[in-house]
């Protein structure tokens, strides 16, 4: 097993007490003692979510990345199917057709079960197992670069900036509203708001110190473009509908475009679903077909790699604006700026 610090490749008997014989530092994981990943594999998962350190990420993204890489030990499931299969073939050669048929049917049933396990809908790593691995990793290797940690959660929080008096008088051209604060964290920590000139808020009031200020700023633009970004969950799939119809959000103002995950997009993420909560009833932005899917499954946005989330969101926003370029909605009016007229028009 290779050490990620010094690169020395060692055999199990050379690693006393999980220690690398090269640099004498600890390994986080030891497959010989039952760990399902090596340090190298875990580091590769971190490299993948952080795009080799160039994108900031949350621990929830790492969870799904680890799940993608987690060995499913398919051979354990397949083994019971192989034994009766081989037995059946032997019987077949011995012309014991009835017995062979029984053995082969058993083999086929076990094989189907194994295949179903391989293609399971839900994520295969229990969260508690991942949390144990994550805790061990941080103890041994420290906190990885690029992990999003709110300043308020650090030992020494960064003081809030005091704003100049005029800043709340302005507005934004567009806003991304997320169904959960962690998605807002991902966008803000990666400067998406800055690169794309948009406000970012979550439905549940994040970022808390700015929430009311930013939401009131958004009210100043009647041509605001709103983008709803969410999980494929009952709550997430209702987000755009709520933003369009709730008065404290954007009822009667601007246009809301759903850029989140919906059940129709979920299939390619099979294996990363979570079990759903209570049964979902259609309506409020959810079709009957979607309600059926959502009653059984949830797919979190965090199942996508951060880099993909940022790029997909940008592409969706950009596509929408180019579609509307020749549209009246892409034009301000004097009245959009609370213009009482100056008598010259």
């Amino acid at each position: 097993m290779k050490c990620i610090r010094c690169g020395v490749d060692s055999k199990y008997k050379e690693r006393a007490n999980r220690t690398c014989p090269g640099c004498h530092k600890l390994f986080a994981f030891e497959p010989q003692l039952g760990d399902r990943l090596t340090d190298v594999a875990f580091q590769k998962a971190i490299d993948a979510v952080s795009a080799k350190g160039q994108v900031r990420w949350g621990v929830e993204h790492l969870y799904y990345e680890v799940a993608r890489r987690f060995p499913r030990r398919i051979w354990l499931a397949v083994l019971p199917a192989v034994v009766p299969g081989v037995f059946g073939l032997v019987l077949l050669l011995g012309k014991s057709y009835k017995m062979a048929a029984v053995a082969l049917v058993i083999s086929a049933i076990l094989g189907v079960l194994a295949w179903q396990r391989k293609t399971a809908r839900n994520v295969s790593v229990p969260l508690a197992d991942f949390n144990r691995m994550w805790s061990t990793w941080r103890t041994v290797h420290g906190e990885p670069n690029g992990l999003i940690v709110r300043a308020s959660e650090r030992g020494t929080p960064t003081p809030r900036r005091s704003f100049d008096s005029d800043i709340a008088d302005y507005s934004f051209d567009r806003a991304v509203i997320c169904d959960r604060a962690r998605t807002a964290d991902l966008l803000i920590a990666n400067n998406f708001h800055f690169e794309n000139n948009c406000a970012v808020l979550s439905m549940d009031g994040y970022p808390e110190p700015l929430f009311d200020t930013v939401r009131s700023m958004l009210k100043r633009n009647p041509k605001l473009r709103v983008f709803a970004l969410h999980d494929s969950s009952a709550r997430g799939c209702r987000l755009a509908h709520r933003l369009t119809h709730e008065k404290e959000w954007f009822a009667g103002q601007g246009e809301v475009t759903d850029v989140g995950l919906r059940p129709s997009q979920a299939d390619v993420f099979r294996g990363l679903f979570l079990a759903a909560g209570p049964a979902v009833v259609g309506g409020g932005g959810i079709s009957a077909l979607e309600a059926r899917w959502l009653s059984q499954n949830t797919l979190e946005l965090a199942a996508l790699r951060p880099e993909q989330i940022l790029k997909r969101l940008y592409a969706a926003m950009n596509r929408k604006e180019h579609e509307d370029f020749d549209d009246d909605s892409f034009r301000y009016e004097a009245s959009d700026a609370d213009d009482a007229g100056d008598g010259f028009g």
Partner: protein, 584 residues
Amino acid sequence: MSGICGWVGDADPAILDAMLEAIDYRGDSVDKVNVPGAALGYRWWSGRPGKSPGIHRQGAQLVACAGTFAPPVASPAAELIARLQPGPEGLDSLDGAFAAAWWDGEKRRLTLIRDPFGVRSLYYTQQGGVFYFASELKQLLAVPDISAELDHAAIHKYLTFSFVPGEDTPLKGIRRLLPRRYAVWAAGRLEVTQYFELRESLDERYADRRAAVQLIRRRCIEAVEKRLNGEEKIGLFLSGGLDSSAVALWLKDAGANVSAFSLDFGDKSLEKDRAREVAGALAIPLQFVRVGGEALLPIFQDLVWRLDLPFGDPVTGPQYLLGRAARAAGLGCIFNGEGGDQLFGGWTQKPMIGAELYANLYGEESREELYLRSYRRFYGSEDELYTPEFHARIGPAGQRRALLLPYLHGEKASTFLHRVRLADLALKGCQNILPRAERMANGWGLDIRAPLFDRRLAEAAFALPPQLKLRGAVEKFVLKLAVRGRLPKEVVWRKKLGMGVPITDWTLGPLAPLMNELLGKASLERRGLFRNEYVAALLQGHNTPGETRRRRVGERLWALAMLEAWMRIFVDGGGKRPARGSGG
């Protein structure tokens, strides 16, 4: 459309000829004076109104002045000495686009002066006990003893801003006089003084929108009118955006015989229809200049040489072609709408508002750091781009932030929007947009006129409440109101979708051979500044993972290619004109 040079000390008179020869495209007439201990040279186009008709001689006083005043005078050089002799108060209302040198033979003193917004440039250096000055860097490099040694700290700044800001130039020992300043060289010492300072001075009279609109409209009209020097025919770079369209309107109102030129990027053009609409509404003849990557290939070297300094914004290529077209149409001066974004708050300021609000949520990031990031070149990517050798030579941390501190904090403004406007104006406007526009126009013998960079207009703009500039999300609100009803509605109220130079298509398409030659592994290794892995990914069209916009690939490639080409011409080649027809 003219240039000056000279020295204080004892130097070979032939050097003055070489310095004037280095800018032969800045005029067909030359005047020069050699007196004991000093020399002045001046090149200009004869027969152009508003220009000094030679070096002004008044007893022991000699004045060489390149450029024009606003409003125009018959001889800016004579006017300058009349204003300056009583004292610096004479500069209080001086405006225009000029750079001048005044040698006072009695007091043995040289005064250098630049216009308020930095349209015209002035550089200086000391070599062998002689103090040299010139309008262009290449003139100083024509002095035999002056060598071109790269200043790595200045290159570091270029890679953040896409131009070299502040008094530094990319060459060690050569300094620049900043706009709105004069410098006195006497007894071996240089003293620099700022004669005009722009700051927020909110006037409650203009909280009234009607009064504010009237003020801005009046100042804009005056700014345009006082830059008309009596030319029979003038040109206008008309983008189809609000600013150049407003200038078109006021030029027509002033009775100018104006022809417009606009860029045509083919199916990538975003504002072409708007330009056509404005020209049609104002009955201005309009010529589209087709610009594609192919058109830039044969002119690239000449473009870099004429720019004189590295300017990394890809807009210079189209500007070069616009200038060539205007010259071919027989014009001598060209107006533009530059300055509107800086004065009235264009769409580029909006990200700073979000950045300010969301700052410090995940760790401390200063306002200066956010502002540096807004230039969107290589700030924050230094570790990936720079070689360790280059990194070791860029000097102490904080140099870039120090340039911003006077504007983004402190007493010059009390509102956030005005702080950012002041920083934009001082850096992006006066040290990037204006000087590069001047080089591109002067490269074709055209006098550039940027009426929105006007002293009285700028003062008026900073007397208005910032909420009249950015009204909700509507940018340049007061300017929109000032032209409302006079320009097509689409031009006044349409949102900006961003400038449309399709630079990524060009750099990865027709310009790819040039990019590969300038930024290929062999070239990078020879220069030793950049890591091949980073640049190679850009050459293959790969964005950095966190980057969502494809256009950043082209912008970054162009900025790096411009720098390498500039180093080949100015550092390796001593600033000599490259052989014609050589692209890369």
